[in-house]
Amino acid sequence: MTTAQQIADAVRAGERSASEVLEEHLAVIDEREGDVHAFNLVMRDEARAAAVAVDAGDRTGALAGVPVALKDNLCTRGIPTTCSSRILEGWRPPYDATVVARLAAAGAVFVGKTNLDEFAMGSSTENSAFGPTRNPHDLDRVPGGSSGGSAAAVAAGFAPLALGSDTGGSIRQPAALCGVVGLKPTYGLVSRYGLVAFASSLDQIGPFAATVADAALLLEVIAGHDPLDSTSLDRPLPPLVSGLGDGVEGLRVGVLTELVHAEGIAPDVRRRVEAAAEALADAGAKVDEASVPAASFGLSAYYLIAPAEASSNLARYDGVRYGLRVDAENTAEMNAATRTAGFGPEVKRRIMLGTYALSAGYYDAYYGKAQQVRTLIIRDFAAAYDSFDVLLCPTSPTTAFRLGDKTADPMSMYLNDVCTIPSNLAGDPAISVPFGAGDDGLPVGVQLLGPALSEATLLRTAAVLEGALQ
């Protein structure tokens, strides 16, 4: 597989044309997209025009000529943005997300909008209103979620790079299940302007790539302060790509006990985490056991906080300004008829759960309590980072499961996120990097966690694991 860096270098040197690179990727899409269904929309015409502009020298930059897939909850001006929901079907945003504008300015060629669980709520991409995405490694299995389309697009070779969003693991878990690299940046590092909101204090956009270096390259392009996002960090980003080969000599790595032994972690996944710890020790890291006691409460706190924020954010879908409208006698009935017809079951479930957690009489017991637990999680991570530079644990409890296996019981689906959620609650970065296979031969990802703005450390640690496999 050709990396994004190789494509960018070859296009810049005039050794390959952007159009030729694009046609190769469109050919792979033609061959496998019918089976995989990674995309809600393949942007053939727009992509061809963009590639021609690169070849004419009108578009230059770090990613000139590199095909990129965008999760379909990122606003693209004039191009349908659905969030895989009936309520936004056919909507064409009047503006671009900041990440989309930055990628365009860097010369990227957008190949399509990728499928997701409706409004990014789910861990399998089965909650899409437009049908599930399938795992390119085994079409009977899910790609993970919610950014399953982006993960599958990279795994299938539809694009070397993709963007996803991660509220509770929605980049890292599908990356693990599809055998690609996925990174959730520090909260505020990447602008959320134009990312359709799910849970605003948790949502963060991040990169998917086949290699660690490509993930670093993509993150460098999209990161940075944006006045259009009031929660954007106004701090310079340390270089990511240049330090990738620096190794882990002397790095203090903690194996995160609570998450390695969390409910439902499969033995084959745990063995890969142990193997990763050994590989890091072999490379000179100082590996020991680490404890973040409050991380055990992450899942419970998350499934109160995220639905609470979602119930508020999704109040905007009322049939008035954009998207679906189901007509009725008066506006209140129109609002209800529109939302009832437009939202799928999981979105309704979370809106009601969040509304309940915020309602009079239950606010203190649920939402208020979960916010206090969030403080405990932040404190326990901070204490762990006194002794460790990086924490290691599984990304997902298991390898990719079969379609339909977990759709009947919401709680069994939610348990997929047990290892990824704590980083969202803390606002800290985390990366999933492929590290071998499980007993079923399917990819296993291991997860590296670090304190705020430690992306450079996480990436070079991930690069050591990537190198150890080769």
């Binding site: 064409r92 009047p94 503006y95 909260y187 505020g188 204090s201 009031s230 929660t231 960090l233 409460f297 899942l299 419970s300 706190a301 499934y303 109160l304 109040a315 009322d318 008035v320 300004r321 954009y322 998207g323 409208r325 007509d327 009725a328 006698e329 008066n330 506006t331 209140a332 009935e333 129109m334 609002n335 209800a336 008829a337 939302r339 009832t340 939202f343 479930r349 809106i351 009601m352 759960l353 509304t355 309940y356 309602s359 017991a365 649920y366 208020g368 309590k369 979960a370 916010q371 206090q372 637990v373 969030r374 403080t375 405990l376 932040i378 919401p410 709680m411 609650l425 803390a426 606002g427």
Partner: protein, 100 residues
């Protein structure tokens, strides 16, 4: 530990959230929400006396931009996405029950 969620509670929050549920859905969602909330009881029963709440991972205060005029999103492009428009405004059905 909070009391178990009832079908009346779910009907109430569905109304608040502008969602209509069939009788079957009401029973199913009540059962599912009860299952999720049971899992959340480990949080609800935790002693967190004196622990401040975190609403947001960043210690941000008000963020202000410079007070300068800049272009905003095109009005016609916004209205073009609306389900119904009249006189360059969003059109909705009757609000107070008068004839449309």
């Amino acid at each position: 530990m909070a009391a178990r969620i009832t079908t009346d509670d779910v009907a109430h929050v569905a109304r608040l959230a502008r969602l209509e549920l069939t009788d079957e859905e009401l029973v199913l969602y009540t059962e599912q929400l009860a299952g999720i909330l049971a899992h959340a009881d480990d949080v609800a029963s935790l002693d967190t006396a004196g622990v401040p709440a975190t609403a947001h991972p960043l210690p941000l205060q008000n963020v202000l931009r410079d007070d300068v005029v800049r272009p905003s999103i095109d009005r016609d492009e916004v209205l073009a996405a609306a389900p119904a428009v009249e006189d360059r405004r969003f059109r909705v059905p009757a609000i107070l029950g008068e004839a449309p």
